[in-house]
């Protein structure tokens, strides 16, 4: 194993990974441990944290705003992921079947390139209740505008649509790349067996694509759970907490009220949920791998 060429590798290797190791320990491991510690304390930044045991967790259980925010977040995640995944998959399959050019594929990912702030600002203009182009069309059709970002029932669906608009193309391109790895012989065999397009999609494409779909799904769920910028720019959690997602609530607790201890507790709770989801992803991906092999 250790040829003469590799004699001094050990020392050099540690030097080469030193910056990454420092970054890993200082900005990933240490903050994770500190975050867990802070969630058991009363910490308001200006004075050192004082240990309060499970107080924050008890408070969390009785905090209606937290549960409300969790509900709002889950509603957003389900909406944006279901709509987003559906459109991404359909778009990817169609682009693949039509053998669409890189230009077409490129145009689809344009929204991914701009920031959430730009997307949110642009859409709040188009959805504006008085001068927005979308409301002008709606008013022509139904006679009355919709207060997209200003109404309790529309705030989350509107934010979900902006989020889907922004990420759909990105997901579609990843799924498209997955489709390209499926050997064409699979489809030729299907065709010889007389399978219809729909049947081939159902029994060939979907199972073979499952590892990719599982990955895209989980990345989207994790990303959606942490939605912040679109909400911050469009509604800031309003009206009346209707779009107060978890990340927004954590931010307000930490930087609006300087309640870092409690904000850390909520982060830990969210973190725990995401870990469970990540774990499920690994199970899901692995299961599908043995499935297809």
């Amino acid at each position: 194993m250790h040829s003469p060429a590799h004699r001094n590798d050990g020392r050099l290797a540690w030097i080469l990974i030193a910056p990454a190791l420092v970054g890993f320990i200082v900005f990933a491991v240490y903050p994770t441990l500190r975050g867990i510690y802070l969630s058991f304390t009363n910490f308001r930044v200006l004075s050192p944290p004082s240990w309060t045991g499970l107080d924050n967790f008890v408070r969390l259980i009785h905090d209606d705003v937290f549960w409300g925010a969790l509900g709002v977040t889950v509603y957003f995640v389900v909406l944006s992921v279901v709509i987003g995944m559906t459109f991404s998959l359909v778009t990817a399959v169609i682009l693949h079947r039509l053998n669409a050019s890189t230009l077409v594929r490129g145009m689809v990912i344009l929204p991914f390139l701009i920031s959430g702030v730009v997307a949110a600002t642009t859409w709040s203009w188009m959805l504006d209740s008085q001068l927005g182009i979308i409301n002008m069309l709606i008013e022509k059709l139904t006679g009355s505008p919709i207060l997209f970002l200003g109404s309790r029932s529309w705030a989350i669906p509107s934010i979900a649509l902006i989020s889907v608009w922004k990420s759909m193309g990105y997901n579609a391109i990843i799924i498209f790349a997955g489709l390209q790895t499926i050997p064409s012989t699979v489809y030729e065999a299907g065709r010889i067996d007389g399978a219809s397009e729909v049947k081939m999609f159902r029994y060939l494409t979907l199972p073979l694509l499952r590892p990719i779909l599982a990955m895209v799904l989980i990345l989207n769920v994790i990303g959606s759970f942490q939605v912040f910028d679109i909400v911050a720019v469009t509604t800031k959690g309003g009206p009346a907490n209707a779009s107060n997602v978890l990340q927004m609530y954590i931010y307000q607790k930490a930087f609006g009220q300087f309640d870092f201890g409690y904000a850390s507790t909520m982060s830990l709770a969210l973190f725990a949920m995401l870990i469970v989801i990540t774990f499920l992803q690994m199970r899901l991906t692995r299961a599908s791998q043995t499935d297809t092999n």
Partner: protein, 300 residues
Amino acid sequence: MITSTIRRRRPFSAGRFTSWVYVALILLITVFPFYWMLRTAFSNNRALATNPGSFLPVDFTLGAFRRVIGLATASESLAEGGSGASLQLGPYILNSVIYATVSTVSIVFFSALAAYAFSRLQWRGRELMFGLFLTALMVPGILTLLPNFVLIKDLGLLNTFAGMILPGALFSAFNIFFLRQFMLGMSNEIEEAAIIDGAGRLRIFFGITLPMTSGPIITLSILGFITAWNDYFWPLLVTNDESVRPLTLALAVFKQSSPQAAPDWSGLMAATLVAALPMLVLFLAFGKRIVNSIGFTGLK
């Protein structure tokens, strides 16, 4: 990458027709907001209210752009329906350029160093360390945000580029993993020939490995730059001073300071266009590469 386009020349079919209609619709929804940004940015904000549905700029003017780069006087701004406030985008653009460039160069470079150690060097503990690094891939960012803010504050780095850049500048599990994959696949022969010629490890890294990995390095750089340019949350936490705040924050502040009753939509759209412009230029220059990068990184 194996390609498997199921291309068969077929005559006109209803399915193909429907598919193209679907694609056209998707492209319309994708591109229209960009056109609407442009159309609004070139409109006179006061005139916009009288003709909101026009598909061409209403009372064409460059006023909105002048307002957001700080060329318009308050009275000019008011005359065109602005709020009287102007935005000096120039310094923010510079901040964004510094933030995105330094972050990207640094993380890709340090990841390449680590990836080299994890692929081309043989040392005890290599697999263990790599496995340890990989666990970071599974951990969502949320838990580290607040403690990292506290750490940056304790280090006295709030409102500095260092504070914005450092937490993400040294370690990226994904970048290391991605570059390692490529380096593992490189043949030993060139490297061994160089060793026989008396080249040291570092010379091999800079002279052979790094140039041979330029493809994936560019991929990661483009994706990293896009992410950093569009970053909002972390800079929001660690800065409150205009001298270091990036463009995304300036835009959000400008949006919030615009009056609720009669927002300066032309100004806002001019500002969003300016904020999006580098990405659009990047797209024009590297479109194909970006598309392939995204597909590729997704497959891992």
